[in-house]
Amino acid sequence: MASQDTASQQAPNAAMEQRLAAVERVLEVRAHDKGLSADGTMHWQEENLLAENGAKVVARAWTDPAFRQRLLADGKAAIAEFEIGLPAIQRQVYVLENTPAVHNVIVCTLCSCTATTLIGPPPNWYEDLEYRARVVREARSVLQEMGCPVAPETEVRVWDTTADTRFMVLPMQPPEAIGWPEDKLASIVTRDSLIEVARLSAEGG
């Protein structure tokens, strides 16, 4: 006989909202004792897990060649120059420079690890089975389908986030945006360009 835990042998699952509420309820006392709450954490995430953080880093790298060098040499140390708190679990950050010769793209095939403080919470498509299964094996087709074709002579590098190193792509600066001030540049950098499934334009992604 199969395990009693198999989905087929048990009562139909309660709605997701109800299952979430049950988990939240059993954690309530412990959370309260530590001064934590789901509301408080949600508020913190809304203010801290932002692709705008990654965008600021990119804009600085586009305008300050010395910073760009530091960023590519040691992402975590260079990002510490900003007020962006990286969690301990993100032990190392590699910033991957896209050029006409090299197109970097990020995935987590085993789950959905992401540099959330730089990119924000991952979009659903990044968590979906299709992206995780396909992008390591047929990145060019996947990128083409997503509206980001890569020239045949450009090398594709896929980075699978299987440990506690996190990745962020440094996208190419749109030529029309050369000479812009840093804050204006930050405004055109999109979340999807930091994963690099979308190219940037001066109009914003």
Binding site: Q18, L20, L110, N124, E155, D164
Partner: protein
């Protein structure tokens, strides 16, 4: 474990459901689940590797049909039951219906006793290891040869850390593979970088 979560290189999937600027959350409960996961982690009831393994231990049919955030809630609930914080019956009573949990854990393993340090540029082979417990080795690189590009940070060995065994910190190596070596004749041209724990690697045999 060779579970449904280990998706890299699996075939038969359709197009990625991509929309530019897609919201990270489909619904309010997903956003709350995302917060609850972080909060639960801060309570110190379980570690990140136990959490990841609890996701992996979901019944395959449930896992594949569940949304990402259903997997998150299932894993947290499974660990709260396994750690004695609550029971399945209590969760189901509060939820007012069923609450499918993950299957029990199989055994883990400790760091490889014969692990060794590698240098940048060294050719390495991924050990042909098959384990029933947690492992952060995507199946698509098992037995394959690549080149060490960087040495990564010291990290608790996940195969032990997910199972309450002594997990010694060890480096991960950024190893570069060629897609044509991973799937000969069956992949588009690319290089694939994977962060590989030291215990998963051995020196590549010398090719004459």
């Amino acid at each position: 474990m060779d579970g449904m979560h280990d998706l890299g290189g699996r075939q038969g999937f359709g197009k990625v459901g991509y929309a530019p600027k897609a919201s990270p959350f489909h619904a309010a409960w997903e956003k709350r689940t995302y917060a609850l996961r972080t909060m639960a982690g801060q309570l110190g009831i379980y570690n990140i590797d136990e959490y990841r393994h609890a996701v992996e231990r979901m019944d395959p049919r449930h896992s594949v049909s569940a949304s990402y955030y259903e997997r998150v809630i299932t894993a947290i609930a499974t660990l709260l039951v396994e750690k004695g914080v609550t029971s399945k019956a209590e969760l189901e009573a509060i939820a007012g219906g069923g609450f499918a949990l993950s299957h029990p854990s199989a055994g883990g393993r400790t760091n490889a006793a014969d692990r060794k340090a590698f240098q940048r540029g060294e050719r390495v082979r991924v050990r042909n290891d098959f384990v029933p417990g947690h492992i952060r080795l995507p199946g698509y690189i098992r037995g394959k040869t690549g080149v060490v590009m960087y040495e990564g940070p010291l990290t608790p060995f996940p195969d032990a850390h997910a199972h309450g065994l002594e997990a010694v910190d060890e480096p991960t190596y950024d190893v570069q593979f060629r897609s044509e070596d991973l799937w000969p004749g069956g992949a588009e041209s690319a290089v694939i970088h994977v962060a590989v724990f030291q215990s998963y690697l051995e020196a590549a045999p010398v090719v004459s």
